[in-house]
């Protein structure tokens, strides 16, 4: 049997990889990919917890289904934004989006 901690560590690793991607990439689409990796890590966590801690309830699985749905909605809006920007600016490079100086 695989111990729960193995899953958690894999999830943590995926989380960190995703976070690195989200923080380090210049391209907006690539950042979005990092975010999706983070969400996957979260889902691994949720489902593993559900399996090992509360298998008789399905709260973890239900939660992760919500994550899936919201992730889809978020990706749709995010990609729409990216495409919208690309239309006007011909670039989705975050370093070139400098009309607003932060």
């Amino acid at each position: 049997m695989v111990p729960l901690s193995w899953y958690l560590i894999v999830a943590a690793a995926l989380f960190c990889i995703g976070l690195y991607g989200a923080l380090s990439r210049r391209n907006a689409v690539a950042v979005l990919m990092g975010i999706e990796l983070i969400l996957n890590a979260i889902n691994i966590n949720l489902i593993a917890f559900n399996r090992y801690i509360t298998p008789e309830e399905v709260s973890g699985q239900v939660f992760s289904i919500f994550v899936l749905a919201v992730a889809a909605a978020e990706a749709a809006v995010g990609l729409a934004l990216i495409i919208g920007i690309y239309r006007t600016r011909d670039s989705v490079n975050l370093e070139e989006l400098d009309l607003l100086k932060g």
């Binding site: 960190c16 919500f66 749905a69 990706a75």
Partner: protein
């Protein structure tokens, strides 16, 4: 401790998932990143299978690969001018981000290992899918409705934003 076949499978799948994940964030070609992302999603789906969450495994493939990854690939291709040629993909803070990510990982692992997690999974009820279905219309009915409104809003919004002028 002898390693059981299930553990072998787990390790293989983890390597697949994490390896693909790493390639997603390291690849210099955006399109390849997207493809690696699909690979990573597959690995995660298989992990769900290993966790006996078959509904989630299939939903993962349906939504993440069938919908989200496709959307991402689509967006990658629509913003095609960006990815021709191998350009610098990482920003000025990538070095710091890398250090932060590694430190965070170390920290998380330390923290996670402090807890005495259960090592044995408990038996799973047969009718998980029915239970999920019931949960949606009983305890989770409000979030369910909220998510449906949210999806509607996101749909209309996304179309509005991306539509040609």
């Amino acid at each position: 401790m002898a390693i059981t076949p299930q553990q072998v499978v787990f390790i293989l799948l983890s390597v697949l998932t994490l390896g693909c994940g790493l390639m997603v964030v390291l690849s210099r070609n955006l399109f390849h990143s997207a493809l690696w992302l699909v690979g990573s999603f597959f690995g995660v789906a298989a992990l769900y299978g290993l966790l006996e969450a078959e509904f989630l495994a299939v939903a993962q493939i349906l939504i993440y690969i069938g919908a989200i990854a496709t959307l991402i690939v689509f967006a990658t291709m629509l913003t095609r001018g960006m990815m021709l040629g191998r350009m610098k993909m990482s920003n000025f803070q990538s070095g710091i981000s890398g250090v932060v990510a590694i430190l965070l990982l170390g920290l998380l692992v330390l923290v996670l290992l402090q807890v005495s997690w259960p090592t044995e999974a408990l038996p799973v009820p047969d009718d998980t899918i029915a239970m999920i279905g019931n949960a949606f219309v009983s305890a989770y009915v409000i979030p369910f409705e909220v998510v449906s409104v949210l999806l509607l809003v996101a749909l209309v919004g996304a179309i509005m934003i991306a539509r040609e002028r």
